[in-house]
């Protein structure tokens, strides 16, 4: 079983970013970068499948040279090798999906496991677009994946509004990970040491022959509206009185 997974380099999910005063971007000084949490879940799932069925896990990152670090985190968790597509541009999901498509054509994986959403751009689009480009099934927002013994299909439980959707997909398919698919492991020290020697193939985006002309362009950022400061109330009696007489919500 060959599984392609992703490790997008994103700003630390727990840091509240601010918009640059001129609106040209967000302030990144002093902010750490991490693997997109959903991608970590995807890597973990791939490793669990590999541990059961054996095979290979290939981690793909698309970003600046520094994004090597996020790919190495995936390798330190146990993935076998990496592919880094180097670009300084902020790519739209169509382009990212085209890049993945190209890599899929070369690597011919049996399964593509992405995150459901990158927590910087919050697009939640890439896996679905990739599945359409590949003309295969998608199973997004997965909370459970069960591969058939013959490894030709997978049963997936999807977290959706009002409950769980159970589907079966033919492989290869694109599955995107939701939060409750698993809890990612921490890399062990030997894992981190080993990862240093695992190969990462580097490709310049410009050398891939992909139309990378952006179809969706970001034109400037603004701060979200701020809430006006509230008050602290001393007790429940005051709280309920305020809700009734001031806010008029009960």
């Amino acid at each position: 079983m060959k599984i392609l997974v992703s490790a997008k380099r994103v700003t630390d999910p727990d840091v509240k970013v601010r918009v640059k005063p001129d609106g040209s971007g967000i302030v990144t000084d002093g902010i750490d970068y991490k693997v997109n949490p959903f991608d970590e879940i995807a890597v973990e799932e791939a490793l669990r499948i590999k541990e059961k069925l054996s095979g290979e896990v290939v981690v793909v990152g698309i970003g600046p040279k520094e994004a090597t670090k996020e790919i190495r985190s995936g390798l330190a968790m146990g993935a076998d090798r990496g592919v880094l597509v180097i670009t300084e541009e902020n790519l739209d999901p169509i382009t990212v999906a085209s890049i993945f498509h190209k890599i899929v054509e070369e690597e011919q994986p049996d399964l593509i496991l992405l995150g459901k959403q990158a927590v910087d751009g919050d697009n939640n689009q890439t896996g679905q677009i990739l599945a359409e480009k590949m003309n295969v099934a998608q199973a997004c927002f997965a909370s459970e994946i069960e591969l058939a013994e013959d490894q030709k299909t997978a049963k997936v439980t999807r977290e959706v509004d009002g409950g769980f959707d159970h589907v079966e997909v033919d492989l290869p398919a694109v599955i995107t990970a939701d939060l409750r698919l698993n809890e990612p492991r921490y890399a062990s020290l030997p894992g981190i040491m080993k990862a240093k020697r695992k190969p990462i193939k580097e490709i310049e985006l410009s050398a891939m022959g992909i139309d990378s002309d952006p179809k969706v362009v970001w034109h400037g950022f603004a701060e979200p509206p701020v809430r006006k400061a509230g008050i602290m109330v001393p007790d429940v009696v005051t709280l309920v009185a305020k809700l009734r007489d001031e806010a008029k919500v009960i």
């Binding site: 999901p93 919050d122 997004c140 009002g162 950022f221 979200p224 509230g230 008050i231 109330v233």
Partner: protein, 322 residues
């Protein structure tokens, strides 16, 4: 922009209220561009929904009513929607951001070679779509350069279209989906039933986090919720712990809500949670830690033990209502 196509959702023979927000958005866009606004509903046995859908000002309501669409799958729904969008000359296709729309719209966009903006809050004077990024800590203006454009719309940003006369023309969509060619089989929908209002439709939400310590705490919140006719929400921590179903998760990666009143009990106020509720009109936070970040967005903050404060609230509200 020319014609706009909105894909509407329905449940139990009724349109979902959330979809009416996308209708409002579509009417705004179509009014400006001089194009037409059309709606599309997909599924099986759609008679009643189709009739209802005629009442919201769409020029046409396309009805794709077929056995092959009885269960939702992105592959089949996007296929039918693509055909309709092409036939009616859509320049913009959209739907309210629900689990279904998030799953299907990017696939439909890819079929139409459309660029897509997720979770749109509005359109600026340049025709750029405004949308939240980085858990709502920045709003970006997005230009979509493709001929056809796709969006999901944040339901909380648009008032639902009021119901009017049944004026829209009904158009029957000829559906030919070969389920065998989809590489996917629908197995089963496991419904998590609840008597309480759905989060995205509730006027009041009582939400709990890790501080509820599980069932015991959520039971207290449910009493308060029922008294207020409220929906129950939760943080990721509470959902991960298995205390409440996953579709109660409010936040960046769960549901985005904006009720008149949001009561957060035992919730710290992580960035990801705030992203889903800070648009609420009035926010109450009950937390025993006065430093909890949730207080920074609360209109009324109460430093207290929820196990004591919530039952007291129930008593006080009963008195206030008497």
């Amino acid at each position: 922009m020319g014609n706009v196509l909105i894909i509407a959702e329905h449940k139990d023979g009724k349109l979902k209220k959330g979809s009416l927000a996308a209708f409002t958005f579509a009417r705004q866009v179509a009014d400006k561009s001089g194009g037409e606004f059309h709606a599309l509903i997909l599924g099986k046995d759609l008679g009643a929904v189709a009739e209802e859908a005629r009442c919201y000002g769409a020029a046409k309501v396309h009805v794709a009513d077929d056995e092959s669409l009885s269960a939702y799958m992105a592959e089949s729904y996007a296929l039918v929607a693509m055909q309709v969008a092409k036939d009616m000359g859509a320049e913009l296709v959209g739907a309210t951001s629900t689990a279904m729309a998030k799953d299907m719209m990017p696939r439909l966009a890819a079929k139409l070679e459309a660029g897509m903006a997720s979770d749109v809050l509005g359109v600026n004077d340049d025709g750029h779509f405004l949308r939240p990024v980085w858990a709502g800590n920045a709003i970006v203006a997005v230009e979509i350069k493709t001929a056809v454009k796709a969006v999901t719309i944040r339901g909380t940003e648009f008032d639902p279209v009021p119901k009017g006369d049944a004026g829209s023309e009904l158009v029957t969509v000829a559906v030919s989906v070969d389920l065998g060619s989809l590489k996917k089989r629908f197995l089963q929908f496991e419904e998590v039933k609840s008597e309480r209002p759905e989060l995205t439709e509730a006027n009041v939400i009582v939400s709990g986090g890790r501080g509820t310590k599980g069932d015991e705490g959520f039971k207290l919140l449910e009493v308060l919720a029922d008294l207020l006719g409220a929906g129950v929400g939760a943080t990721r921590a509470a959902v991960d712990a298995g205390w409440v179903p996953n579709d109660l998760q409010v936040g960046q990666t769960g549901k985005v809500v904006a009720p008149d009143l949001y009561i957060a009990a035992g919730i710290s106020g992580a960035i990801q949670h705030l992203a889903g509720m800070k648009g609420s009109k009035t926010i109450v936070a009950i937390n025993k830690d006065e430093e909890a970040p949730i207080f920074s967005v609360a209109d009324y903050g109460l430093v207290a033990d929820l196990f004591k404060a919530v039952p007291e609230m129930v008593e006080e509200i009963k008195k206030a209502k008497a």
